[in-house]
């Protein structure tokens, strides 16, 4: 049995779940930021930085998805994926999929608080920014796990 469906499913899981996490995170941060900007539009730069911080999960997911498509050969039109390889791709995608989903939402919440804090006193910006990136490490760990597996799969004897 061919594993191509499973490999594509893996790419989809990585991109979609992590994308949902980032979309939710950036969405809630952007809402708050616009509230602040309606009062003081001079803070646009700082607000933009804080709003974009939960956006990396989606990128990580997209990269894992893309690498799955590259390393399975689907992007070059090959259908040469075994069932076991397909399963492995799907499995590898779960890490960044779920890691990105939940860390994106959590980072969005942190970003909202960071925005509120910065709006009170602009000097708090760097502290807020650093605190928000603390969440990111978990998305990063998930990404690395997915990544290391995905690039090894073509070399595996399965």
């Amino acid at each position: 049995m061919n594993g191509i469906f499973l490999a594509i499913l893996g790419a989809a899981i990585a991109t979609v779940l992590a994308g949902i996490g980032s979309a939710k995170g950036v969405g809630s941060a952007a809402q708050t930021a616009m509230g602040v900007l309606s009062e003081d539009s001079s803070m646009f730069g700082k607000m933009l930085v804080l709003t974009l911080l939960p956006g990396t999960q989606g990128l990580y997911g997209f990269i894992v998805g893309f690498l799955i498509l590259v390393s399975s050969g689907i992007l070059n039109g090959s259908t040469d994926v075994t069932f076991a390889q397909g399963l492995a791709y799907a499995g590898a995608s779960l890490a960044i999929g779920f890691g990105g989903l939940f860390s994106g939402i959590a980072q969005g919440k942190a970003a909202v608080s960071g925005i509120a804090m910065t709006s009170k006193d602009e000097k708090n910006f760097s502290k807020g920014m650093v605190s928000v990136t603390l969440v990111e490490i978990y998305a990063l760990l998930a990404f690395i796990v997915s990544l290391l597996v995905v690039i090894q799969i073509p070399n595996m004897a399965i």
Binding site: L52, T56, L59, I63, F66, L67, V130, I144, L147, I151
Partner: protein, 654 residues
């Protein structure tokens, strides 16, 4: 940092203060009023006037910007303050009264404009109310003639003429009346009711029961005429507003003057604030403050040149402000440092270390030769064209250095706008080569060699953390806290080094493994023996020492955090590659080339935006969380010299 005390004649006060402000050499300390025989000179009334003028000009500028926006937009924020000749100050001072009256006029016009708009809204509501009475040919406040009582008003229900007659008759059959419906809509009927004067009271009772109300703001004019008048008034108000706007716009040419005047008052406020804060006697005054050690002689020369005075210096105490001083390479990173905290007296200035690692890590994360060269060119051009102020110039320089590092790392990773050279080559020749084949030097492809690169990232992290700990070591040593230096910091450094050697040994040779293990165990034993030294009793000491080993988890998580160097580097490369792939998708026909150019530019612009931001933020985090937590105390005060704290102008040095 030195303390300085200047005693000078009051007659030289203006001259001396002006020169001190221009030169920005010293920070002035507020006198505590304890000096006998000296008194405080109150300048707050003058300052209030100046501050009011600053606010007024700010308002005027804002109004002016609203009516006729300034050209230049985004790029103007890079622009430095305009240089003016010292002699120009006199002219500005002379013209300030005129400018202030222009500003008052602008603010007055704007207020009138706002009032007019409010009035127009009020009229609009009135017009809506009058709408229902358009057919009525008597004034709304008519109450009757000699023999008839007339009621003009509304009921809170919808009636036809017959229905209303019926309702009134049902209330009181004895009432004789006549009525006319003017307007009816759901839950509102406007009507006029006529009744004999003799039955006025009776009619009032009936109408009250039905919820009759006379119209609000009834006038003695016929509704149609009234509406006509209101419409005319609206037209007049609109015209007035247009004229006000035209007049405001006519002051556009004064914008520069207003800005300069605003700065003039800002500078004077600062100067008077200083006068407010220093001690005066009948003939002399005393200024106290701080001056950086290297500027002492300059300050003395300046003071003695412009005033009859005595200047003496002393050693600064614990609470002296800190002035960071760095070479051209490190200076741009000072902003990053002060964003976190200003170093305290015990800290060593970490800017050089910070600068090096900032450039290094940023480059590794952004890692693209194309983007790096763009950064270097763009920042260089901005510095050349706009001649920005020091702070902005330093920020631009920061990114210039980051750009250089980005370029170098891009070459190492074989990434120039992603794989653009290879992708374009393949597109036009139909061959299938990779960047590694195209570039004459050996490259490290993060996609294929992710694991080795992750190890390298963590190794850089280890060095970064060790450098941070060395700073702590030096700081402890300087404060003669030898236990802190050797036991709390040194042993942990040894431990980390031991683990590093052990890890290297696993890959290279068993001998290294043994060496590493021995170092790690020895330092662990050392930690157990020393970390409980504050506790009481043998058991307490031992348990305290053992518990301290738990800190290893925080070191491990710190080191793992550096894997973001790989992750972000990979993100830039892969995103760029994806955009290149999309761009070269359509083939080599005309349409394909147009598509190529558009997608290429757009895609790489997006990639630069997203990943430059990511690299900046994450580099900062690595510095703040992983490195500064190892040694940096912060909490110092920044040296803020008495200077021209202006927004738009600066005085040319002569």
């Amino acid at each position: 940092m030195k303390t300085v005390r200047i005693v000078a004649l009051r007659s030289d006060r203006k001259r001396l203060l002006e020169h001190l402000q221009d030169s920005a050499l010293m920070q002035i300390k507020k006198a505590d009023g304890s000096r006998g025989g000296f008194e405080h000179v109150d300048m707050s009334r003058h300052m209030q006037v100046f501050e009011r003028n600053v606010t007024l000009t700010e308002q005027a500028l804002k109004i002016l910007d609203g009516v006729s926006p300034e050209k230049g937009g985004m790029l103007s924020s890079f622009k430095g303050r305009r240089q003016i000749d010292p002699d120009e100050i006199g002219a500005i001072a002379a013209g300030s009264g005129n400018v202030i009256s222009v500003c008052s006029r602008i603010v007055e016009l704007d207020k009138k404009r706002a009032d007019n708009i409010a009035e127009q809204t009020r009229i609009a509501t009135q017009l809506v109310q009058l709408e229902a009475w358009q057919k009525l040919d008597i004034p709304l406040n008519t109450t009757g003639t000699r023999s008839t009582a007339i009621f003009v008003g509304s009921f809170p229900e919808q009636y036809t003429e017959a229905a209303l007659k019926e309702a009134i008759a049902a209330e009181n059959p004895k009432l004789e009346f006549e009525l006319e419906i003017e307007h009816a809509e759901p839950s509102l009927t406007c009507a006029v009711i006529f009744a004999p004067l003799s039955q006025k009271a009776m009619a009032e009772d009936v109408l009250r029961v039905l919820g009759f109300a006379r119209p609000m703001g009834a006038t003695s004019k016929i509704p149609k005429d009234k509406a006509e008048r209101l419409r005319e008034k609206t037209k007049r108000l609109k015209l007035e507003n247009e004229m006000a706007e035209d007049e405001i716009a006519s002051y556009t040419g004064k914008r520069e003057d207003i800005k300069v005047t605003q700065d003039y008052f800002r500078i004077r406020t600062d100067k008077y604030n200083v006068i407010n804060n220093i001690d005066h006697s009948r003939y002399v005054f005393v200024i106290e403050g701080y001056v950086p050690e290297e500027d002492c002689e300059k300050l003395r020369e300046l003071c003695e040149r412009v005033a009859t005075c005595v200047v003496d210096f002393g050693e600064a105490g614990e609470d002296a402000p800190v002035k960071l001083k760095n070479n051209k390479f490190a200076e741009p990173a000072q902003n990053i440092l002060t964003m976190y905290a200003v170093p305290s007296k015990v800290d060593i200035d970490p800017t050089p270390v910070l600068a090096f690692f900032f450039y290094f890590f940023f480059g590794m994360m952004f890692s693209d030769a194309g983007y790096g060269i763009l950064m270097v060119l763009a920042t260089g051009l901005a510095i050349k064209l706009f001649k920005p102020d020091k702070r902005m110039r330093n920020n631009l320089r920061l990114f210039q250095f980051c750009g250089i590092s980005t370029t170098l790392w891009g070459l190492v990773f074989g990434s120039i706008f992603g794989d653009a050279p290879a992708a374009l080559y393949n597109m036009f020749t139909g061959s299938n080569i990779t960047m590694a084949q195209l570039l004459p030097w050996p490259t490290l492809d993060p996609q294929k060699q992710a694991l080795p690169l992750m190890i390298i990232s963590i190794a850089f992290g280890l060095i970064h953390v060790l450098v941070g700990m060395s700073c702590k070591f030096i700081m402890c040593f300087k404060q003669k806290d030898y236990a802190g230096a050797f036991f709390d910091t040194g042993l942990w450094m040894l431990m980390l080094i031991g683990f590093a050697v052990l890890a290297a040994g696993i890959a290279l040779s068993p001998v290294l493994m043994t060496v590493g293990t021995i170092i790690a165990i020895a330092s662990a034993v050392g930690l157990i023996l020393t970390q409980g030294r504050g506790k009481k009793g043998i058991v307490g000491k031992f348990i305290g020492g053992l518990a301290s080993l738990y800190d290893i988890t925080s070191y491990i998580s710190d080191l793992l955090s550096y894997s973001r160097l790989l992750a972000l580097g990979l993100t830039t490369g892969v995103m760029a590659q994806v955009f290149n792939m999309l761009a070269t998708m359509m083939g080599t026909n005309v349409l394909g080339i147009v598509f190529l150019v558009v997608i290429f530019l757009l895609g790489h612009a997006i990639n630069i935006g997203l990943n430059a931001l990511g690299s900046y933020v994450h580099t900062m985090r690595l510095q703040y969380v992983e490195m500064f937590s190892k040694f940096y105390e912060g909490g110092g005060k920044e040296f803020e010299p008495f200077s021209l704290n202006s927004k738009y102008i600066k005085i040319q040095e002569d």
